[in-house]
Symmetry: C2
Subunit: 419 residues, 2 copies
């Protein structure tokens, strides 16, 4: 990693504690990722991004800020990045994926909360996440009780703007979400001093769509048997999508895809079971479940999660002549995401069944972060629908600790033998 | 109890299982309530209501239904009973307060969920709650992830109409809540066949306000030192408010209050510590915490909960000439409730501080049902504000089981000694 200590110091980071974090990551990454045989060359870029994860991009954000630009932190696929791009600001996904931050989070939150929220709060209060330290504003949303109330804590450290996501999908809810996007535009204009126009919003939509197209192209390769890319490599790329410079990211994903196109011609199936993961998001560096599964004779071929298909499926239309038109296009695309925060959320079951066909899935693993009520309750209906359709499914509830890894491995093994 | 077996059979209840429930309640009630010395005579009516809790009122609901009337089940103080009264329907709070139902609930819900939601689902699926069996429709809301997703399960058993409560309190949220009330009116009109008019909605408001006034009058007596009524008796009355015939309830509460007025003149303080409970609702027959506290030298003088002040504070204005006017009055009153489901929810802290003054509170006990994220996260801000104001506060997280009763008693004892 380059020398970023001056930058981190200027970001008011806790350097000593941050060193502890930096000391852990390379080993962890090495054992999960670099042990893979016959990896695509194109993954070298993503290896590099991880090796520089707290330096390279934060330095770019710093440069952007030096020129008067703004940086907005987000936590959820419902926040419309298009608006942020339009105002010449940069959106970044915030740190929330490591057990390292959980302990500090538990000083401010109850222990029986989802690890993602505890890690996010812990990352901020401990001053060990350069992204949290760089953002001028956090954009929150009301997708779950835990995050909704955690904004109140984070707001003591950095301004938080909350978007109230409707909990249903009726016509009035689309209208409400359009109003919420309008308020968000006003807020972003106020923060950046830049007006959101039809022209720059169309450009913002195009940037976000180009990321979606690149990820879609990548995921399409995973429909092949065998997939020319491992599940954990694909997961890593999805995770990096939330941080990286959009143009560079799209270019690198496309270069990788060009390689995969060639590579796919010569690969032969080893008869691995094809697994879909569905459930809660996996924030960087949460690779736990993928790593367990792919150390067995199985490959993860698709993630119906917020760090998977929910992030890139469906583009935003650029049709229209007014800001109103474009806001409607945004609302249409975003309320089409089938998150368990909606009631009912039957569209998710349709998505899962469709992906089972498209990705030739042998079995579905429902992955739920501990204490996420919305997804854990929804398991019942998903299980029922999949069993009716004859699709094998198993439920895993876990957090960021490694204590249950052996037990999960045993259960996944049994599941693979069964399907 | 009278003989209601024929009624229960017609309600498709599981008679055998229900007998088990009925066998437990009298002993429990006896030990918590009938052991109190020098109780007001006026409590006899409420003793009677409990002794007939699954018979008398369900028989009245049955009679109402025989005449073509409808019954709507509710779970939350945000559902506007006024609309239900206006359409000549009856609102009833649904069973959710007993450990008896938790096991059946856990067959459909994850175990790490709030006991209130598990008990509610368990009460329905086990066919042991005559109220659940009587309702033509359940009115749900989006106040927490757990309930929001549980409606999808209950909807398989009885139609559920969900009201999407905004999660913030901006002008647009008031407008949204008004729209939601309008949709609710349409739904109730459709179900009952009765039009909601300015005239009958004003009458509905008056019925709901009369309950609020009676409860307010009751609670005002608790501001006295000593309170002429125990905390657990007051809690019981609040719980019964959700079930009972409104006119009879108001009359009986007022008769009790007349007695308390006399009684207060001769009571002398025994120096008991005056406790406020703030937090999650206590559904019938959840008397656990009150019982523990009042078996110590302490009295609960106010509950800042949904089975306390949040239920009756602030009347709905009957001013206005149009349905729109009245809907606005409803929205104004209901969005004035300071539930932890809102972000931020600083009004709740103001309420707690005000009640500390008005009820001369010595210490605040924050009571949280296990796994209720909204209230458990909000503890941090409430604690901080109260400590700054020099008000003692302690946090208790518990469920419906009795296993932790000894431990809670020890902790409350220590708290009482400290304040």
């Amino acid at each position: 990693m380059g020398d970023y200590r001056e930058l981190w110091k200027n970001l008011n980071m806790d350097l000593e504690k941050h060193d502890q974090l930096c000391a852990v990551l390379p080993d962890m990454y090495g054992s999960v990722y670099l042990t893979q045989e016959n990896r695509p060359e194109g993954m070298n870029y993503f290896n590099f991004v991880v090796s520089e994860v707290h330096g390279l991009r934060p330095a770019e954000l710093n440069e952007h800020k030096q020129k008067g630009g703004k940086v907005l932190g987000t936590f959820c696929v419902f926040v419309p990045d298009e608006v942020i791009f339009a105002a010449n600001a940069i959106p970044v996904g915030l740190c929330a994926g490591s057990q390292f931050w959980v302990e500090d989070g538990e000083k401010h939150l109850p222990r029986n909360m989802c690890p993602l929220i505890k890690a996010a709060v812990g990352a901020k209060v401990s001053g060990t996440c350069p992204y949290f330290q760089s953002v001028d504003m956090i954009v929150g949303e009301t997708t779950c009780d835990g995050k909704k109330k955690a904004w109140e804590i984070l707001d003591e450290y950095v301004p938080v703007h909350v978007m109230d996501l409707p909990q249903m999908k009726r016509t009035k809810d689309y209208n409400m979400w359009m109003e919420e996007i309008k308020l968000f535009i006003e807020k972003v204009e106020e923060l950046t001093g830049n007006k959101v126009t039809v022209e720059n919003l169309k450009k913002g939509i195009e940037i976000a769509n180009s990321k979606r197209r690149a990820l879609k192209r990548l995921y399409d390769f995973r429909k092949m048997t065998p997939s020319p890319i491992s599940g954990k490599d694909a997961l890593l790329i999805s995770q990096i999508a939330f941080y990286d410079d959009p143009a560079r990211f799209v270019q690198k994903v496309n270069e990788l895809c060009d390689e995969l196109e060639e590579r796919a011609k010569s690969l032969k199936s080893e008869g691995k079971k094809r697994i879909m993961i569905t459930g809660t998001p996996m924030a960087l560096p949460n690779w736990k479940l993928h790593d367990i599964i792919e150390n067995l004779p199985a490959e993860v071929v698709v993630e119906e999660t917020c760090t998977g298909t929910r992030y890139f499926e469906n583009e935003v239309s650029t049709e229209g002549e007014t800001i109103e038109d474009l806001i409607k296009n945004l609302a249409d695309r975003y309320l089409n995401i089938n998150c368990a925060c909606f009631t009912p959320n039957t569209g998710r079951i349709d998505d899962i069944k469709r992906y089972v066909e498209e990705y030739k899935v042998d079995g579905v693993i429902y992955s739920n972060l501990s204490f996420c009520h919305s997804y854990s309750i929804e398991y019942r209906n998903v299980e029922k629908a999949l069993k009716e359709a004859g699709i094998p499914i198993m439920n895993i509830e876990t957090d960021y600790s490694t204590e249950d890894a052996g037990q999960i491995k045993t259960r996944v093994e049994a599941f693979l033998e069964m399907i």
